[in-house]
């Protein structure tokens, strides 16, 4: 199995011997099997693989959303495997942004309120201005008062992008960000996401099954049955 080569700058994300097993009745399913990975600051890495290959599980473990069965995870040089739930929450609040396939907006909040939320959590100064700036950046400045149910899929994903980038995260994790969008909308959203990433100089880990999306990354890792089977530098 090919190893990832770290750059000289401290890595944003790193894992060593990362494994995850899930229980299904009496059976233990190995979803990830001894992954070693190193992603440098500012890098854009895509993880591709068939459905069930462990891509989303890997993303979840690197984000501190889940706990590995074995191995270690480092975020911005800090090992997170032994952190408790509170510490992981604070880490995500301060350093990580998320974009999901199903948008995951809070349905009872307007688009503007969804974008404001991470700024309120970090008690950011000038939160309202930052929020308006991002809504304008994603082209939804006139739709801020609408609820997610009143927006199209593409619009919802743009709100999700604005929310993810609002606190200027060091790391952005995207799980199939164009998975629920048609090709044209998906292309526009992807371009927007990469543009915002460049502005924020965030590290981007992108999980996708779409090779056209993966092409836009600096590096592409291919997962198969819980293992990295290929790595390609763009």
């Amino acid at each position: 199995m090919p190893d990832s080569s770290p750059r000289t700058a401290p890595p944003s994300l790193e894992c060593r011997g990362l494994s995850r097993q899930l229980r299904s009745g009496n059976l233990a399913l190995t979803v990830l099997d001894g992954i070693d990975l190193c992603i440098a600051q500012g890098e854009v890495v895509a993880v591709v693989g068939a459905s069930g290959s462990g891509k989303s599980t890997l993303l979840g473990l690197l984000a501190g959303l889940d706990r590995p069965s074995a191995g270690q995870v480092f975020v911005l040089g800090r090992e997170i495997t032994a952190l408790d739930e509170d510490q992981l929450a604070l880490l995500r609040r301060d350093a990580i942004g998320f974009v999901f396939q199903s948008f995951q907006l809070l349905p009872n909040l307007t688009a503007r309120e969804n974008v404001l939320l991470p700024l309120e959590l970090t008690r950011a100064k000038s939160a309202a201005e930052r929020c308006d700036e991002l809504l304008a950046r994603v082209g939804l400045e006139a739709r801020g008062h609408h609820y997610p149910s009143q927006l199209s899929g593409g619009e919802q994903q743009r709100v999700a992008l604005a929310r993810a980038f609002a606190p200027r995260p060091r790391i952005l994790l995207a799980d199939e960000p164009t998975g629920n969008l048609d090709a044209d909308t998906g292309e526009r959203v992807l371009s927007l996401m990469l543009s915002l990433r460049e502005d924020a100089d965030s590290t981007l880990l992108l999980v996708t099954h779409d090779p056209r999306v993966a092409e836009r990354a600096d590096r592409v890792l291919t997962l198969e049955r819980g293992r990295v089977v290929a790595e390609r530098v763009s």
Binding site: L22, R23, S56, T57, L59, G60, A63, L65, D66, E85, D86, A89, L90, L91, R92, R93, D94, F98, F100, Q104, L105, L106, P107, N108, L109, E113, L117, P118, E120, L121, T122, R123, D175
Partner: protein, 847 residues
């Protein structure tokens, strides 16, 4: 997180929550309304008692005894004497009165000396509305309206009292102290003291209450009155024991004590309703928490810590609880107004019961939060990885946190009970009882549901099976509704069963051979006439006993005054203690004990050198005496010593002539005595016998047992109905909970309805399935609560009330059926929206 953040999130979330949390608010509103209602009523009545305390007492100060009172004025402190007080002397006694037509009835006579000053406080309304001295002369009386309503009398007629004729000068429409009238001894007759003396009833040794009432000027303070009370108690012979001195602040102690007990009981019933509402809140919060799990995962993913999520949701709950509590407090505050509509004489001046409302809101907020906490702890379980995978494993909840939340809940229930009763033992007993019954209902519900699940599918119609399956689905949340419905139903049924049992027992209390009439104050020379009249009335049983009236002077060498003072300091039921020691003791003598008496300790008339006395067991315990104790009685001023030589058990329910005290024959032969008679005559002959006795010997007091039992039975039944209304609130909350649980699962139900319709079921068939589900829920909770109520009532009746009859099974069955019907109705109404939803819309919605 800043408070501002929570406030903003609260405002945002509440936009979508309005409809969803209507049931939450309704549960809390009903619970708080009942708590505030009871407290407001209690405050209203207390205020009324205080505001009208002088009316209730009849003045500022009252002196009362069972023997004629000395002149009190010289014994008052100088400042009070100098205030030139007004005063009135009263004699109150029971006697049979007779109209000119010969119809007689037992009445309560109130003879007034000082008519021109009566009443000293309050208003006496009469018809005709003329000054009392014009109406009430030495040869006239005023009668209660009950005499006119029965058609026995009208103004101008003649009424014979103690055999003497009096002209009926008018009707008493309203008395200053209506609560002072006894329900046992008949309607009121007012007369002058001189008129009563004309009847010779006082000379014939009737049981009379002598009252001396005093009214001082407006500037007199309560402390001065209290000082006067102390002075009189120390100076009057028997003061503080045989002679009772009260200020207006202490008026109607028996009534106040009864009200206090009723208040405690109702306060606990009200609290039970609020606790059921709390369970409803927990149920609704649990269902809501499941629904917002995806949003919770998002919040956790974005960086909220579990305790921050809990605070956010707790703030939402408190906001809704505040709304529900405020609404409930407002509704509850209307209770005195409603009381005034139903009972105008209790209307009084209306105040806003701020204190009761504040307490209710406080309880509502506290219990909403405490009941929600164990549920809210579940936010720890929600893994943020749910944003990636909906079947993500739940995270562990810290055990200490879970334990703490339950401990807080239990402590909160105990605290709320203490808050309501101000008594730790009562609060603890209530809390344990509620917890025990709730556990019983929970276990019973789960057990029954498990048993239902074992019924072979092939034996049940398809649609009925699916209806039942919905109830058995894990996480349906309906078991909690079952417990809540069951608790409310348990209260209603228990009260209904117990009051029904007591009313039935009272109305059937007379054993077949029990006397139907008692006759008191019979002179020895009058007994042959009584026997003759009884025989003419076809009496099947005639009993008699001689009675010597006496006062207990000392027990084991210690005076009664001393004992009253000692026990007042240490015993909880001071009035009963005083009554036992200072009451007029009625002593009989007999060589052999009647059938209804059983000797349980000692021997009868076996000690030749002492005067022996046999004491009823419970009375001996109340007196604090045992075998060998020395009792000295004052018989018309002569001290007569006795030694307790035996204890008896008396079957009081035989209604035979029985006594607490039986003296050895021969000891009291020289003492003034009267006779007590008991006869059993056919019901149709009772009035004729009473009329004959009233004509021949008007001094004889006749008590008709059936009448008293019927009135008592009616009172018990009325009380039962009133109390049942309290339990109904508990059921109401349970129904709201059920409707809330159903409404909370609206989306799931809509999807189910859509699928069923797609598969080809008609709306009527789907309604039928839902009806089976809700009906089964009602049946399960009804069955368990009815069984529990039956068992509890039977045990209570047997152990505490010594009643052997069983509660009514019919009432239990009706209770179960009513609960089923209610459940079906509430469930179908709550499911209406789901039933109306379009299958296409629902199935296309990507959840």
């Amino acid at each position: 997180m800043s408070p501002g953040f929570y406030a903003r999130m609260l405002a945002r979330e509440s936009r979508a929550a309005r409809g969803r949390f209507a049931f939450f608010t309704a549960c809390i509103a009903v619970g708080v309304a009942v708590v505030v209602g009871v407290a407001a009523l209690s405050e209203h009545i207390d205020r009324g008692l205080s505001a009208h305390s002088r009316e209730l007492l009849g003045g500022d100060l009252a002196v009362e005894a069972r023997s004629p009172l000395p002149d009190v004025l010289p014994l008052l402190p100088a400042p009070l004497r100098a205030a030139q007080p007004r005063h009135v002397e009263l004699c109150v006694l029971s006697s049979v009165v007779r109209s000119a037509s010969g119809h007689s009835r037992l009445a309560e006579l109130k003879a007034i000396a000082g008519v021109s000053d009566f009443p000293l406080a309050g208003v006496l309304e009469t018809t005709p509305a003329r000054p009392l001295p014009e109406l009430l002369l030495d040869d006239s009386v005023l009668v209660a309206r009950a005499f006119l309503d029965a058609g026995e009398l009208k103004p101008g007629d003649t009424l014979f009292v103690g055999g003497q004729p009096f002209r009926v000068a008018g009707v008493i429409e309203r008395e200053p102290d209506p609560l002072g009238a006894s329900f046992v001894f008949g309607p009121r007759v007012l007369m002058t003291r001189a008129g009563l003396e004309r009847t010779q009833l006082l000379a014939l040794g009737h049981r009379v209450r002598y009252r001396s009432l005093w009214r001082f000027g407006p500037g007199l303070s309560l402390s001065q009155l209290t000082a006067a009370q102390s002075a009189l108690e120390s100076k009057l012979p028997g003061g503080g024991s045989y002679v009772r001195v009260e200020t207006h602040a202490q008026a109607q102690p028996a009534l106040r004590e009864t009200l206090e007990r009723a208040r405690n009981y109702l306060a606990l019933l009200a609290l039970l309703t609020l606790l059921i509402a709390g369970a409803g809140v927990a149920q609704i919060v649990a269902t809501w928490l499941v629904q917002v799990t995806p949003q919770t995962a998002i919040l956790r993913c974005l960086g909220l810590r579990p305790r921050e999520v809990l605070r956010l949701y707790a703030a939402q709950i408190l906001g809704l609880a505040a709304l529900g509590s405020a609404l409930g407090a407002g509704l509850g505050a209307l209770a005195p107004r409603l009381l005034g509509r139903v009972y105008p004489e209790l209307a009084g001046e209306l105040h806003v019961p701020w204190l009761a409302m504040a307490r209710g809101v406080g309880l509502g907020l506290a219990l909403s939060l405490l009941f929600s906490l164990p549920v809210l702890i579940s936010v720890w379980k929600i893994s943020p990885s749910r944003v990636l995978r909906s079947d993500a494993e739940p995270l562990p909840v810290p055990l200490a946190l879970r334990a703490l939340s339950f401990a807080a809940l239990l402590a909160g229930i105990l605290g709320a009970a203490y808050f309501q009763t101000e008594s730790l033992p009562r609060a603890a007993a209530f809390s344990c009882a509620v917890a025990g019954i709730a556990a019983l209902l929970w276990g019973g519900a789960r057990g029954l549901l498990w048993a239902l699940g074992r019924v072979p599918r092939a034996r049940v119609p398809v649609l009925a099976w699916h209806g039942a399956a919905a109830l058995l689905r894990p996480g349906s949340g309906l078991v909690v509704s079952c417990v809540a419905l069951g608790l409310g139903n348990l209260v209603v049924l228990s009260i209904a069963l117990l009051s029904g049992l007591m009313a039935r027992e009272l109305s059937q209390a007379l054993p077949p051979d029990a006397p139907s009439m008692f006759m008191l104050d019979i002179q020895r020379t009058q007994w042959p006439d009584v026997e003759r009249l009884a025989a003419a009335a076809q009496a099947s049983k005639v009993e008699h006993a001689s009675v010597t009236m006496a006062r207990l002077a000392s027990v084991d060498g210690r005076s009664v005054e001393q004992l009253v003072r000692e026990r007042a300091a240490t015993k909880s039921d001071q009035d009963r203690e005083r009554w036992v020691l200072t009451r007029e003791q009625r002593i009989t003598s007999t060589r052999t004990l009647p059938e209804s008496n059983r000797l349980i300790e000692g021997r009868l008339w076996s000690m030749p050198d002492v005067n022996e006395m046999s004491v009823e067991r419970e009375f001996a315990r109340d007196l604090g005496v045992r075998i060998g104790s020395r009792l000295t009685f004052d018989v018309q001023g002569v001290p007569v010593p006795f030694v307790v030589s035996s204890l008896r058990q008396v079957e009081w329910r035989s209604f035979s002539v029985n006594f607490f005290l039986v003296a050895e024959p021969g000891v009291l032969d020289d003492a003034p005595q009267f006779m007590l008679g008991a006869v059993r005559v056919p019901a149709h002959a009772e009035q004729g016998l009473q009329d004959g006795l009233a004509q021949l010997h008007p001094n004889i007091t006749v008590v008709r047992v059936r009448e008293i039992l019927e009135r008592a039975s009616g009172l018990v039944a009325q009380l039962g109905i009133g109390l049942r209304y309290m339990g109904v609130f508990g059921v109401l909350v349970g129904v709201i909970m059920l409707a809330g649980a159903v409404a909370a699962s609206q989306l799931r139900r809509a999807r189910e309805v859509a699928l069923w319709k797609t598969l080809g079921l008609t709306r009527a068939q789907i309604v039928g399935m839902f009806a089976v589900e809700y009906g089964l829920l009602g049946a399960v909770s009804g069955l368990i609560s009815a069984t529990s109520a039956f068992a509890l009532t039977a045990v209570f009746a047997r152990q505490v009330l010594a009643l052997s009859a069983l509660p009514s099974v019919v009432t239990c069955v009706l209770g179960v059926l009513a609960l089923c019907a209610l459940s079906v109705l509430a469930g179908l109404i709550a499911s209406a929206r789901a039933l109306r939803s379009s299958p296409l819309e629902v199935l296309r919605d990507p959840v």
